[in-house]
Subunit: 466 residues, 2 copies
Amino acid sequence: MELAIDKIRSHLKHVDDIISTEPADLKAHGYSEWSSINIDTLPVAVAYPRCTEHVQAIARVCHEHRIPIVPYSGGSSVEGHTSAPFGGISIDFGYMDKCLRFRPEDMDATVQPGLCWTELNEELASQGSNLFFPIDPAPSAKFGGMIGTNCSGTNAVRYGTMKDWVLNVTMVLADGSVIKTRRRPRKCSAGYNLNSLIVGSEGSLGIVTEVTVKLAPIPEQYSVAVVPFPSLERAVSAATAVIRRGVPVAALELMDEIQMRVINNAGTTMPKVWKEVPTLFFKFAGTLGTVKDNIATVRDTIKEYEPEAFEWATDSEEQARLWSARKESLYSLLSLRKDGEQLWNTDVAVPLSRLTKIIQDSKKEAEEFGLLATVKGHVGDGNFHENIFYDATNAEQRENAETLVKRMVRRALEMDGTCTGEHGIGLGKKDSLEKEVGNDTVVVMKLLKSALDPRWIMNPGKVFDL
Amino acid sequence: MELAIDKIRSHLKHVDDIISTEPADLKAHGYSEWSSINIDTLPVAVAYPRCTEHVQAIARVCHEHRIPIVPYSGGSSVEGHTSAPFGGISIDFGYMDKCLRFRPEDMDATVQPGLCWTELNEELASQGSNLFFPIDPAPSAKFGGMIGTNCSGTNAVRYGTMKDWVLNVTMVLADGSVIKTRRRPRKCSAGYNLNSLIVGSEGSLGIVTEVTVKLAPIPEQYSVAVVPFPSLERAVSAATAVIRRGVPVAALELMDEIQMRVINNAGTTMPKVWKEVPTLFFKFAGTLGTVKDNIATVRDTIKEYEPEAFEWATDSEEQARLWSARKESLYSLLSLRKDGEQLWNTDVAVPLSRLTKIIQDSKKEAEEFGLLATVKGHVGDGNFHENIFYDATNAEQRENAETLVKRMVRRALEMDGTCTGEHGIGLGKKDSLEKEVGNDTVVVMKLLKSALDPRWIMNPGKVFDL
């Protein structure tokens, strides 16, 4: 390992601080506050490449010496994607954080893995462009990790997920060779779809050093509506009715009564006080005429589920105020943590018809365990999060939280769903993946990995084990 | 080979006519009128499985004896996907043509590879469902081939391509093992995205025996508009302006002046006579309010490109009449073929800003070669078809047509586009694929194939060569 670090330093001696072995650096990359799972081992070094060629040089040395490579960008993974169970080198893309090319006339941009999606959108806005990148995971997420987990967020019901926005990636393979998956057509049937194989592969097939993404026109108008319901069942039924009618909503989010209470208690949206009942948050987008028409269609569709109100806004201030509850939901949760208290943030997705049942069952179980758990759902996609508070210093509570998550996953699989709609497998859900797709399918995934990474140096220990 | 056929007959002796070696059968499967490329070799046998287990039994024998397997469903590939350059067994899914399960509440259906997408939609309609499968390649296309080529069609600008609608596939691998890629969540980040790897792999990684697809709500209203322009440049500029503004059109098609003339000459849309100028065909869909609003936005967006008219319809009869030109475009071409005349139907896709230029250059070149060629474009996606008439008995004409196609592909690649937006590589575009993505990327594709099909028995000779 020391030899390898020396080799990297010597190959890249013209680059300042290309590699660090400072304990604080190792800790910052191998341990994460965001993650529901952390382990004792840390990376042995952290590399700071400035370009694809640096990554290539690092990969060649690592390949020669069979040293694990763990890519690192935003670091906000919740499933331990950036941890280093076998040590090795964490590659931090902090310096590779640029938008390299923006082509407004083609509606695309080429960016580096260390760029944050919010930064890209700020840059486009500062240039006066009417385009934006529409996939919206946590604001801290960066393109590298967004590709790794096939991320999404509240916009997925309208815009799909990360895989739907990637035109090509440049990647460094395990042996240091560099490939580009495609050129820039917006539609393509030429050869295997390597884009969609890489997106969601959690750094286990190669390291993305550049990505060209499609951009979307910013809608001319937005509106937001907040709709409280007398029961969870009615709220979810109303949401799925909207989806089944095909109303092109821009977002369709659910928060349960506990989450609404948490927001009131945290006071993050003061002076607004929310009804503490299951609530749907709609976003509408398009021309003014379309937005008005969509709102009318939604009102008509959901009325049989007896909403308790329909509060909506067109001016941007009022919109921000109404959407603030959704936006502040995670921070509200974090602000209410007591000393030693942790938040386990997990997600599953199920076919639409099963959504009410799995949310109800999961909530009931949390109550039985005496744990505070809130539900936030990207209900338009059948995807939801449970955020479970537990005292990390209390072994029983930690175990109960773990049991809750496992049972929720089991339930999702029984309903023909998935153990994760947008967070990925990482360290935390390897067992669940095998239960979900079966051993034979995992074997196929491993065959594909072995074909590209025969020495298993690319983020080993994630997705599945050797 | 004879031994293998005997083994298949003996393993599946309870199945009537499981395998045929009739010359007419071999010809019907190895040669295609639709294809721009045909070869002299034919499959040695054609198998007619009724279920996944039959395919599995056939694959096992073929694997043991290293016999190529060529899947066959609709047979309307234009790039020689169903031809058998190394002989082997064609697997015809003619008997596996059912919709196995329809789950309206989850908006999905599980179908067999021999089912036609139009038949699925007829079946859904006959059940009174408001759902449909929105990907619309040629009406003869079946799910097997649609997966093989990552097909699309006029709806792609709104609904994406085949890969966007597949929830899971059941497939038989080269060694006869059977895997299912996923369960049925509409959003998933669990493990590698095998769905998107299989879609577009042209039967070279495994044989799909079942697929679960998402369904979409049928829009409440449609409208169609036909808009002739004074020049190709203005027509394409108007189309891209609509896309850049983000108007959610349901389809956006271009036909050039020659294609419009062909339709008039063929008389397939009589008594309607069309202006013989570059023409855009719009489809709008949604609620009545949204449709009206979209039409207004489109009119406003395109007016600076000086359309010569804006003919639109809301009632379904008038819509069908206006859309008929687009719908009948291929049949108009076919009906005008003289004896011995062939039609070479090819497609490329380029970034939006280059679309005018590539269409202009390709048309000019056809003219210089003295060949009749028409252009039809899925212009919203930067994708278009050139249909070239040539006399197949005239070596020079055939060569000229080939040169035209090659140059169009070269031009698309120079513009950072692709050699095929929706038809696939097949036999016909293997050289183009290598030029498009580079040898190193093709090597990665081959590594993936070899990992799943080490004996290269799955549709060998397609996509790339060993």
